[in-house]
Subunit: 96 residues, 10 copies
Amino acid sequence: MLFHVEMTVNLPHDLDGAIADALKAKEKAMCQDLQRSGKWVNIWRIVGKYANVSLFNVESPAELHEILTNLPLFPFMQIEVKALCRHYSSIKEGEI
Amino acid sequence: MLFHVEMTVNLPHDLDGAIADALKAKEKAMCQDLQRSGKWVNIWRIVGKYANVSLFNVESPAELHEILTNLPLFPFMQIEVKALCRHYSSIKEGEI
Amino acid sequence: MLFHVEMTVNLPHDLDGAIADALKAKEKAMCQDLQRSGKWVNIWRIVGKYANVSLFNVESPAELHEILTNLPLFPFMQIEVKALCRHYSSIKEGEI
Amino acid sequence: MLFHVEMTVNLPHDLDGAIADALKAKEKAMCQDLQRSGKWVNIWRIVGKYANVSLFNVESPAELHEILTNLPLFPFMQIEVKALCRHYSSIKEGEI
Amino acid sequence: MLFHVEMTVNLPHDLDGAIADALKAKEKAMCQDLQRSGKWVNIWRIVGKYANVSLFNVESPAELHEILTNLPLFPFMQIEVKALCRHYSSIKEGEI
Amino acid sequence: MLFHVEMTVNLPHDLDGAIADALKAKEKAMCQDLQRSGKWVNIWRIVGKYANVSLFNVESPAELHEILTNLPLFPFMQIEVKALCRHYSSIKEGEI
Amino acid sequence: MLFHVEMTVNLPHDLDGAIADALKAKEKAMCQDLQRSGKWVNIWRIVGKYANVSLFNVESPAELHEILTNLPLFPFMQIEVKALCRHYSSIKEGEI
Amino acid sequence: MLFHVEMTVNLPHDLDGAIADALKAKEKAMCQDLQRSGKWVNIWRIVGKYANVSLFNVESPAELHEILTNLPLFPFMQIEVKALCRHYSSIKEGEI
Amino acid sequence: MLFHVEMTVNLPHDLDGAIADALKAKEKAMCQDLQRSGKWVNIWRIVGKYANVSLFNVESPAELHEILTNLPLFPFMQIEVKALCRHYSSIKEGEI
Amino acid sequence: MLFHVEMTVNLPHDLDGAIADALKAKEKAMCQDLQRSGKWVNIWRIVGKYANVSLFNVESPAELHEILTNLPLFPFMQIEVKALCRHYSSIKEGEI
């Protein structure tokens, strides 16, 4: 099932640079693993913001929650989740 | 270039049913043509709302405006547009 | 899987009374069928508002969308959907 | 009587980890006691957020206030309270 | 138990004058009966607005909902309800 | 003349406990003096929030400002003020 | 005592032109009478909007309510009222 | 002096088509006259919306108000005005 | 030309008291100079808030920006600016 | 292609003055380079705010994102981006 997730990152100004970089590196690695697993279907940058729009294909809402709350940057993120489903005008086959 | 577009439709209650259905049919046909052309990359329904999240791959903002404002339901839609670009964590090749 | 849905009904003042009553009766019947089927787990009235908070246990987001958009009052409703999952403090067994 | 409570937790980034964990443990214990007492009827996690939706069955608004303000995480929580009552479409017996 | 209720009235411009006056008269009569019964404890006008702030002393949220939704102007009102309880600084005796 | 005042207190997490308690004690004492003087007519706690709804009966807006800005917790409070006046449905005598 | 009032006028598109003009003329006459009486101290137009910012010097909130609700355009206005008092930096004498 | 003006047009669905077209034609003509006069410095369409962002170079706020409120579509527009001035980083000569 | 400016001051809790007092003293002095110069036409306190409503009579938006951004408390202020002009109902002579 | 960008700067109060000045100087230099390159078409100050409205003429959304996120003040800025296109009333030639 598909979920639309918008993540906005607000890192505190006084967060130690090295710590921030380490968090970002871990976040990138985890994100890419999840993309390779097919869970994290798409991730795009919102122009002008430290934020992204992502699509997740998961087995359940619980799985999505597990993924999001284990992201290294989760404590610094504002997250909006929308449940999606197939649009009757979509021409894509096999879309859920 | 990619644009993220959220469209919420508010049809007036007193709009003649036949007119509404005709508008929806034209909208669906135009949407499917644009999908086949590759302009309208994705369209998903937001659960519980007469609204969709869509991705457009267009040559310019002007082209996106042309597409959106010529949709039959445009006069009844609230539209939010976000410009997207490649996220540095994305593993997809050739993504703009 | 569980979804939290808040529905606020705004019936137009000039909607014919008989039509409104018929819509409400159909809504009530459909709601009760869905409760008996276990899909519509709970429905409570929000004090002071023509609105309710409901819990749905469905197979997929698509099923929830199907249910909500087929409610007779759907065209007159503002709906907010939240995906839920088990809270680690919950003592309930078998909760998804 | 039933109250719908949405709690969003915002722990300061610079809060000492051990203190945070201790608060969370106390919060979980108190929450589970209240569930066993029947006061805290339900608690679900909102997907993607450090937040929950809960239902309380209490004797009075004052009792609800007592419960909420004594939660260890109360100082770090944004809380929205809605009074609920029986919906005329509900098929549940003995619901208040 | 005490509830704080803010009611804002939005009568449609094209509502027939006589109907509007009749509604207001019935509303006033019902409001005064409820005041005499002690249910509707206070009602004040918010300066500059067709709105009031009221205090209700009722047996349950359900009773409050019953009162509010049976007010003649209910269909034209936006209502915000807050549950209240005794403030520890209050010097009033017997306040709930 | 009557003013409706809603006060929400946001004490910083890192405020020294003893200082916070001293502020609260002074606030309570001042509040109770003002209640005894008849200026601070009512104070109720909003369930689930570190906030109150109060009614003040003062000689002028300036006097209300004087009272509010001299409250020990004023620097930590978000305050919304509404001017009230007699509602034509009120059955109370001598109400301003 | 001084009140700051912002009034935004929303005349319905389908309001008969002659009726609208009559309302505006009556509004202007009443406004000018109140200015001559000293009640309506100032009125300025907000650039780009059918709205004004005004200052009223009245005996009580009740008097302000009386004035505002008797304005011909009141049913079509959204009104925000702020109570003002003397600023300690003001160099004006005799300001309330 | 420069003003930044954002105009969003909301034409009623049931406005007669011919009337709407006439209004738009007059609006376009007036807009182009003002551009030729140098008053209306720039006008751009906001992608996806029946709205524009414009820059005006006028002698006074009053002149801007005169221009905006005389636009044929003014009654159907929501307008936000921002006063602008020279940015200290701007490399443009003679900018006000 | 007239500008309506609303200034809300948010001093950080941990700002050194002496520094805060010095800032306030300088602010007051500058404000009173500007009043004497006729630039700062009026300043009123908003009841219950560390905020004021002010009127400025300046030669240009640039001059207003110069004044506001040089106020000692500017870094701690949230400022909303509205351009004003003469209201056609105003009876004041020589008003801009 | 044209993008409308509104940037609001919120420098932390406790940021070291020298660091802040250095950031601002680098920001100004980079801004002026981009203006000379034709990318940063216009920049105006919003009166009364540490904020600007800018126009960018870039090859793609990705380029705009690159520019904005490399600005020294980016971590301290709230940025709103709007895609623009030619307005059919514009008399400017060669406008995109």
